[in-house]
Subunit: 476 residues, 4 copies
């Protein structure tokens, strides 16, 4: 292909030849039970869907191990910008013609770990209903109380009738907890209870735990397939297009931003301050800001900010109050962690999932705003209303979009496990459901690209400063 273009702006019609090739695409291979178990232990069966009248499997119904989906699909034909190397591809998700489990011998375990996220109950429901209705599995267990539940609590037997209305409820009916990860106790319990399919729903810490469980199971050569379903309302997991619950969270965040806007505009020099979820990434804050348009400033972990001096937050708000009488600030919970003074103990402390303890940027910012105004405008009215809607957002049921998404995630996971894959995650890549090695997902991060148009659009919508310090503004 000979693209005459480049970044000079000539129209594409100058292209001499509009046909091209893409070379050197690398397929990310999945772990499979057959890679560490002998064939004799892995008899193959025809997929029960084959005889299911609702499916009428046709030629194109099954996914074969050679069906793949491309991850890097945007290209620069001019070659000016080198492509990611290698370009990656993943196996497509879906039912396989041959399965490695006989339905009657399956004992599936489902566990939820970490904080709440809209859609957890839908995922649980669909794992149960999918295993039962699609594959005829009858032994499905809910592990309660997170990882520690494997070895410390009796499991809950689940069936479709029991989970029927789960998708209309927020939270997780299996209860959840942080921590409690004891690798050997967990794998012993899996072995002891005879589970041969393990579905693990949780955040990044949980996914790292799931990798260890998978590896231990593989090293013990157990016939147990492990799959992870990333749960992160923050949408901070990489490779997959988005995580479940995220869209619902962005919807719900609108309500908090609206309230903050009303509080701000109903006061003299009113500031509405909303803290939204997002420890390491600002996706909820960014999406909620772009969807709402009532936000004057959006602060996210991916970009630094400072308070005082030229180009700082105070200067910006001062100007905005003068012009408009009020302002709304959205701050992601992980923003500004470097600015908040920490006590010695706060510098050491970590939560049960091993994450750094986050300081409350909302409370801190509220206090700093009040001090600033008192200092700069001691005799003028001023109001800061601070809203932290976290638990009111994450505890709602999934909306329709997320409900459907959770269904597809859960069914994809089941198909993969039944096909004998293990140590993997299912999820949409460029809109196509695919299987991704679990360790790859556990490490991948999805940060807001602040050089991207979307962040530029936030700034153009909000007109907020870029907090790119000039030499004269270093005292924030």
């Amino acid at each position: 292909m000979a693209a005459s273009g480049g970044s000079t702006g000539e129209p594409a019609t100058d292209l001499q030849d509009t046909e091209f090739s893409i070379s050197r695409v690398q397929l990310q291979v999945l772990p499979h039970l057959s890679s560490y178990l002998p064939d004799t232990l892995l008899p193959v069966h025809i997929n029960p869907l084959h005889h299911n009248p609702f499916f009428h499997p046709s030629h194109s119904f099954y996914i074969s191990p050679t069906d793949i989906v491309l991850r890097h699909i945007a290209h620069d034909l001019s070659g000016t910008f080198p492509p990611p190397s290698p370009r990656l591809a993943y196996l497509r998700a879906g039912p396989h013609h041959q399965v490695y489990f006989k339905p009657s011998e399956v004992r599936a375990a489902i566990v939820t770990c970490g904080g709440l996220c809209p859609g957890m109950n839908t995922v649980i429901r669909e794992l149960v209903v999918g295993l039962w209705e699609l594959y005829g599995v009858r032994e499905i267990y809910g592990v309660k109380a997170g990882f520690r539940g494997f070895y410390s609590v009796e499991p809950l037997r689940l069936d479709p009738k029991m989970v029927d209305s789960f998708h209309k409820r927020g939270g997780t009916m299996l209860e959840t907890s942080r921590g409690g990860f004891d690798l050997h106790k967990i794998v012993n319990a899996i072995h002891h209870r005879g589970y041969n399919q393990v579905y693990i729903i949780g955040g990044d810490g949980t996914m790292r735990g799931a990798v260890k469980i998978f590896e231990e199971i593989r090293s013990r050569k157990l016939r147990v397939a492990v799959t992870g379903i990333p749960k992160t309302v923050d949408n901070d997991v990489g490779i997959i297009d988005k995580s479940f619950g995220f869209q619902t969270a962005v919807e719900m965040a609108q309500q908090a931003i609206s309230a903050a806007h009303v509080e701000a505009e109903s006061a003299v020099n009113g500031i509405g301050l909303v803290k939204l979820m997002g420890r390491s990434t600002g996706h909820i804050a960014l999406n909620a800001t772009l969807s709402s348009r009532d936000v004057d400033c959006c602060l996210i972990p991916e970009t630094e900010f400072y308070l005082k001096g030229k180009g700082g937050l105070f200067e910006f708000l001062d100007q905005r109050l003068r012009e408009n009488g009020h302002a709304v600030v959205v701050v992601a919970e992980g923003a500004g962690q470097d600015l908040i003074p920490r006590t010695e103990s706060q510098r050491e402390e970590r939560d049960e999932s091993g994450n750094l303890v986050f300081l409350d940027v909302g409370g801190w910012l509220k206090a700093e705003l009040k001090k600033w105004w008192e200092r700069e405008h001691p005799n003028e009215l001023f109001t800061v209303k601070y809203i932290d809607p976290t638990y009111m957002i994450r505890a709602v049921p999934a909306n329709a979009t997320d409900n459907l998404y959770c269904t597809l995630l859960a069914h994809s996971a089941i198909h993969g496990v039944m096909a004998g894959y293990t140590g993997f995650v299912s999820g949409p890549i460029n809109g196509n459901y695919a299987y991704i090695p679990l360790d790859e997902v556990a490490e991948a991060r999805n940060e807001v690209d602040i050089r991207d148009h979307k962040w530029a659009w936030v700034r153009s919508v909000t007109n907020q400063p870029d907090f790119a310090r000039t030499s004269s503004g270093m005292n924030g």
Copy 2:
């Protein structure tokens, strides 16, 4: 690449070589003003964003005419299933370094045609705000009353202050209408009023009209760029991932399905019947059904059904009422059009957009159900509650997901027009915003693939029959 796989189900780990190439990808070239206007009439300018402090355009900020996105990204490495030929690619959407309009000379016209769809006002708002804030355009006009408004009504001057809260309102503040397409009057009016950018928001009929407008403008060699923004709550437009307003519609449809479910389960032998939008495609019905799970049967235009006899709808409902006491049926407005008896005049009539007049499948089905029960179970209680939520769905404001989507659509359209492209549509392809030739979109349909897993899932969720007639069931 040598994929040893195939459809036999061996795991991907058998693949000898996991690197491969994709050849013969065809880029779909866009019309451009420069293709029919001489350079002298098309001076090139540096994008005003270049000096906009909110954008800090970096190396990677601009889209070049050689940046493309792949459309066909799922492949069968085994070669068993031949790939689409040719595989297609499209230009990526985004700001270009060089633009073909000086902001001060732009006169942009925005028109909305056809029925309502959540998000129309957001698209209008973002076209206005985007042109104004990103590119400094100051002359932006709303054409009222649809196509006929070009030549029969004074336009409405728009500015950011005026459209500020449009995204919180359903419908279109520009008013809309069907029909009124008079090519020469429209192009004369465009010329006469000095519009050089025309943004046309409407359904498939409107897009076909937009193609004609673009072609007439090109043949007159006018320096006017035309772009179409497909508005179809039914999500029946092809190539792009989804149309705006669709997610909102699916959310709102939940409410109607819930009500139908409550009515049905509160009666003895109660049937809740919901008609949802979808003239030629059943996407809303399908998605609403999968999201809700209270639906027992989902009827869409893509698949035939019949009422009587073995395997028919009546038999299915009879059984469901016996087992469960109630049932919920969702029917897309375009389903069953062949089953409804038509009068002579109904066989001729067409609406103003040239579409066949649709018969009311909901009212017909309600009457047929009552007749059936009266015939078969004359002394038993029976209730059908029929809900047509169409106007309560399509008149709501866009939800957060759709609001953001409308913003990206509108901004993509603006960037493309400013870069001199014309006769195109912007929209997401596999999650990446791209530009597609307008005539291609005007012809492309997005139907529900009933051989796909998603439809199979509907059937497995609902357990509804497949209406594949057997020889003994031909009397429906």
Copy 3:
């Protein structure tokens, strides 16, 4: 008392004496089991609440048979307007110190009849929970399928665990039906099954049936207390302040009016037409109109209207479209019944509850509007969008206001029944819960007083005509 006032408008400060008396208040006595059963069959017990630690009944806790509440509480001290004669008073509702049922011998039956109304499930729930928790009753039965369920279906045993989340669901979990009223079969069944408390939830036809059941029980001298809980989303029952579900219906109606408003203002000469519940009264239409303020004309059964000629609806809409470009019309389902042409059979037909068959005023009006425009403005655009949200309104769960109201209604009914009253209804009178003879409620109507300020306010808000025909406008 010597009020010097009168209707002449002098301020109240002219009153010589501000103390006065109200004479001749008539207490409406309730039927009581003791009025037809000998004391030997009616042993009296101490209310179990007396030993309930949650109640700590104090001196003022119990209601005595001499606690009354006034119904007519507005007076004209001048005597210019004669007061209602006699002024009425009713027994206050609440727990009595002595009860006429031993909890262990109670067998309570609950039945729901007629159409759906928000809050039915809450009433059922609270009857069950109240009987169980407050009085220790353990035998509580749900009669399914309405009146006919007494003699044709096995009842459903109810307990608090079973009904725990009923209040979050719309409709009635007992199923409901119209008709099926066979007095002797019903009373026989009550006797046969040993029910001694019967709670009947239904509309005006149901209340008339309940009167007959009560009278038959009394004439048979059965020790069975009967109470009615009026269910009428239309709020058309008299004496009590309002009926349950009404507030929820008015809330939900806003959504339909909003949609109609959006449809109307998004079209050229657009009319949004909404039909709301209200067969004999226009309370929902009136309240929804006053709450919304997007309505241009509100048509209710209490006031006649006409279409054509001077002062008619068409003239009004013509003017409104000219001035404003769009209009919203709300019509109660019982409005205009005299205007709609009836076929011979429609003049005879009645529904199962014995009500006249209502013709569809919405569909008729939509058609008339289209004919009118076609006739008067054949070449101008015109759109009527007709929304009938009935089932989407009545099938929702009760909102918080109605949930609490249903609780108080249910508990009041239980207290009255336990105290031996029968043939009564509980409900708020001027904000105080009271007991009213069942036959009085069955006959009382609550119509919109169109001479009242509230209706005048509707007209001043909407500026709609009063349809008081002048001699020249008689051709409608």
Copy 4:
């Protein structure tokens, strides 16, 4: 009348005579402009409504100064419980035949003070629309920024077009503030600007300020009518049935309780803690608890509680967690103020309205709960999720019920002012709109009566302890 009853429980049918009288009712007389201004300064006019075609005032349309409504309408006929002495009555609200202002000379001022409450904007809207449409007033001013706005900010001229959509927005478009009450500056400004009608919307502190303004105006003999519209989302104002915005707040509180319930049940030993508005009264907490039924314990200012020891909160929660695994606690913001340790400065501090500074009972209780569990169950999982939805509740628009209520309040106030009354409040008394002397309302409190059935019902619903300390439980 000879009621033979008493509190012994005999049925009312024993009553010999069911007719009775009520003596010694005292009418609460309103201040009126004519009481301190000579007739020559107070010409009387016919109400402009008289010629308004929308009102067709009939005989019964106007309220006369002798139309009254009873406040104490519940009686004990036995005389066992002495009635309130005196029984009170108030003037009914509504249009008078004669008015004391000529529309063309009216200059009305509207001010909002204190915190936000759903419906403030509706009250403003309806004052403007009512004055304009009903009485033809054209000079209506919004005083911005609360009381201080009278003397420090230019007022905002208001008209119906400007306020048209106010009722769909939360907060107050006039901005509000606390404090700033300077009596002489305010009355001087009223005089100076020529306002002759002053509508003051605010809480109890504001009402006390309004009394002073009224008294100062009267002592200066200014022809200025003053009316107060109590704004208290807490529903803590006495005499009137309820305050505006309260129903909306109870609805919104359901969402927070639901979220707390989900958080609690999704954790091991999970407690959901919700703080609701209510500084001196627990109405929102009580109503939200009764409406929701997901609450295990409701703590309000009217009743004391304690944490430790027998019968304390910890013991109760310990038991509930053991039985049920989770618990939800609702606490009104004014509850437990005596239990929270105060620093010296906190004992002195008062807010700008003169109220005692409230300590954050939610934060304190959350901390105490964590300490307790750590102490008592150091090795068991435990989670407290604390939700403070205050700003998300009070910033929403009024729901339909409150919108209508605000309209009636505003119109009642206008009618009273036009009729020459001053120093009054309008509001519903037993469902009838009436006028109450402003000073009476400013002092009246509406507390939850914890000896009443409703509070007993809370306790029976929640099974929570009564915190009536026994001698052994005094260490809390």
